[in-house]
């Protein structure tokens, strides 16, 4: 019998099983290019692994978590069954088929292009078609989120959309629009070449289109985490949400400012003018606004929990917090990693500072700390929080969960801090082979070994995570009770109409995208002779 619980579990199990495999690949990559391992001689194996790891971690895991959690939030916050269950299954099937379609050519060595595609490098067409299927499957989710909210509003005229649903729909719209860039790149630039219909490709144009997707996709990954901050954390630690409206403002601001910023990935690319690079820098800077609003609101919400538990004084509420509660631990870890990662991000987004770390291991360290650390640790919290409601069984191994979260936090710090450091020393990223016997690289060896150890700790944590979920799946049946989201400390009497819908914010999102992207795209399109011969992946005999 297919119901929404099975459907959501299918999403999450597929996501986390892929995550487990990709985690092992990641650690193998760290190991094989470290001084601990003899060089494997053929970099092809390394890049195959990097492509599979990146594709799974960047496209499959977050998309399925956002989709599954989105369906869960829809049912629980609107308190009625999901509209379009069959469509949801179809979306899941497309993502699952797309994943297999993409990964098989990668495993066969036919699409070793890394998950960011790197045109004019072109691999087997099935890899790109698989990625397109994943995106199309997720667009079904985007449509379902929109339909469910619209129908609820129809049936509840004058009532404010519940905050968890509002935030989820914001995330879905952001994804729907940001995925358009990569979709255009794949459908009109790369796939025709991969199918042999064309032999040249405009690398500058494809990179601009990918940048359209590349940065806002990070906020799409981030949004389930932010939803968990606002709607799970205060309730799970016995507090109240400091402000419902502040949360709504944070999410609509993400919609507006997360899009027109992707060119900060192209600071070294000559195809885009310096004026547009500056515009994108300014809007990248503005992303700190919704993030700092969130940090403030969540810290205030946590303080409320501390004070409700009897904490007094300026700092007494900190010691009164339920530190043995896994959610409390995770949100603290997440904030620490967000803080360090965000500080590093300020360097990435600065036109001049970026030149010192561009294409170095700093960048790899940065996105692992933010995404693998601050974001994914909250995916664990989401899974733990909703698992009993999906399985109808208790998840009572709290000790194991605490170990898992601690290990993920420690592992991620041990992995990424040395990674940042070697990046400052100038160690390039995307390289398979480093000759540590060379005096110029010998100084990096110890740091790289530390990262390998950090990765190993993460693997242990990943195994514990899957173990906890499996135990939850096989535990005795238990009635989980009604699922509750956080409640605001001071419930607002009214919600401004602007914060109950998306018309204004979507208009600003599209408008700013046009302002910041239209001219660079048209300019490159009008530049004669910008296309270069494609470079096909693989050897040839």
């Amino acid at each position: 019998m297919f119901n929404s619980r099975h459907m959501i579990l299918a999403h999450l199990w597929f996501a986390f099983a892929s995550f487990g495999v990709a985690l092992l690949l990641g650690e193998w990559q760290m190991f094989t290019r470290s001084p601990l391992s003899a060089w494997i001689s053929n970099p092809e194996w390394y890049y195959r692994s990097v492509t599979a790891h990146g594709t799974t971690m960047a496209y499959v895991l977050p998309t399925l978590v956002a989709m599954g959690f989105g369906y869960f939030v829809t049912e629980k916050s609107l308190m009625r069954p999901l509209i379009g269950l069959h469509w949801a299954w179809l979306g899941f099937a497309l993502v699952a088929i797309g994943t297999v379609t993409a990964i098989v050519p990668v495993a066969l060595g036919l699409a070793t292009v890394l998950y960011t595609f790197y045109p004019p490098l072109v691999g087997n067409a099935f890899y790109y078609i698989g990625v397109v299927l994943i995106v199309v499957g997720s667009w079904i989710w985007v449509a379902l989120m929109s339909v469910n909210m619209a129908r609820w509003k129809q049936d509840n005229p004058g009532a404010a959309v519940p905050f968890p649903m509002f935030a989820t729909v914001a995330g879905s719209y952001l994804w729907g629009w940001t995925a358009v860039g990569a979709a255009i790149e794949l459908l009109f630039q790369i796939i025709p070449v991969a199918l042999g219909l064309r032999s040249t490709i405009d690398a500058g144009l494809t990179r601009v289109f990918f940048s359209w997707t590349l940065h806002a996709i990070v906020y799409f990954w981030l949004i389930p985490t932010y939803i968990a901050y606002y709607t799970i954390v205060p309730r799970a630690i016995g507090g109240r949400l400091f402000s419902d409206q502040m949360g709504r403002i944070a999410f609509v601001l993400f919609l507006v400012v997360a899009m027109p910023i992707g060119v900060h990935h192209l600071y070294e690319d000559p195809e885009v003018g310096s004026g547009f690079k500056f515009m994108h820098t300014v809007f990248t800077g503005l992303v700190t606004v919704p993030t700092l609003l969130t940090v403030f609101t969540i810290c205030a919400s946590v303080e409320i929990a501390g004070r409700l538990r009897g904490g007094k004084g300026a700092f007494g509420w900190l010691t009164a917090l339920p530190w043995r509660n896994p959610t409390m631990l995770a949100v603290a870890f997440s904030f620490v990693m967000l803080g360090f990662g965000g500080a590093g991000g300020l360097i990435n987004m600065s036109y001049q500072l970026d030149t010192t770390i561009h294409n170095t291991q700093w960048v790899t360290g940065h996105f692992h700390l933010i995404y693998g650390g601050a974001i994914v640790i909250m995916y664990f919290v989401i899974a733990y929080d909703i698992w009993p409601h999906l399985t109808g069984r208790a998840l009572d191994c709290v000790g194991l969960i605490r170990w898992q979260l601690w290990l993920w936090f420690v592992g991620m710090i041990v992995l990424t801090f040395p990674w940042h450091y070697v990046g400052i020393l100038g160690m390039p990223r995307r390289m398979a082979f480093y000759d540590y016997a060379n005096p110029a690289l010998a100084g990096d060896a110890a740091s790289v070994v530390m990262s390998v150890i950090g990765g190993a700790i993460l693997v242990v944590s990943g195994v514990l995570f899957l173990t906890v979920l499996l135990r939850g799946q096989t535990a005795p049946r238990a009635e989980p009770g009604l699922y509750r989201f956080s409640v605001p400390a001071r419930p607002p009497r009214t919600v401004p109409v602007a914060l109950n819908g998306f018309g204004l914010w979507l208009s600003l999102m599209v408008g700013l995208t046009i302002v910041n992207y239209a001219f660079p795209i048209v300019n490159i399109l009008m530049t004669p002779g910008a296309a270069v011969p494609a470079v096909m992946v693989g050897t040839r005999r």
Binding site: W39, F278, F283, N438, A440, V487, V497
Partner: protein
Amino acid sequence: MMQERVASSRIGWFTAAIGTTVTIAIVAAIVGFVWLPSLQTDAELHGIWDTICSAAGLIQNRAAHAPVVQADYPTTRVELAPQMLEGASAESIGRGATLALRCTMCHGARGLSEANSPNLAGEFPETIYKELMDFKTGARVSAVMAVMVPSLSDQDMRDLAAYYAYLPRPSDAAVGEPPPIVESGAPLRGIAPCGACHGEIGHKTGAAWLEGEPEPYLRAQLDDFASGARHNDIDGQMRNIVRRMTPQEIEAASRFYGGRS
């Protein structure tokens, strides 16, 4: 979750959101397109419109200010694309076989040289086509080839390429392990592995199949790239690589590929 009501005021939010966004965009544009470029003392910008166009990324004709540097020798004019000469017809291969009769003295009856000239049997067609074109335009200099190519038409060169690509290669049984320069390159000197373009690890369009080529020929070509005597490589790729290679690496690479025959 409790039921909250929606307030009706829309106009304030609308004005504030649009106003703030537009203000930020305009200020950012003025700073990014006018003020910051105007502080660049090394850029030759003439007036505000020129400044804005430059910051917008428009490619302008600046020939008057910065003359384009031209090489004082012929460079290759061939543009290669993947699969460009694939799927040659039997007729093309047959014509190529007839045309190749004049090549046999150096390149052997079946494309395998006994005179340390390049083996052409099984070579990639676009590689042969490019080299013939370069000999014809003078981008690649050879006293012998210079007299062979002037009469060849574009189609002749395509046919010759098709014929030699069709012939079976010499056996490429491995002789020993590849040396580090072939397998790993020298990343600290910016040298990619030979195998990344010339086979085993990867193949890049235009790069020749080297295995089984005569060792003296390979060594001579690498030396010529290093000295600049050979300069028909696209964007100077081989010249830039070989200049950074040590004599030992040149020797090791030549011996490895030359030994596989």
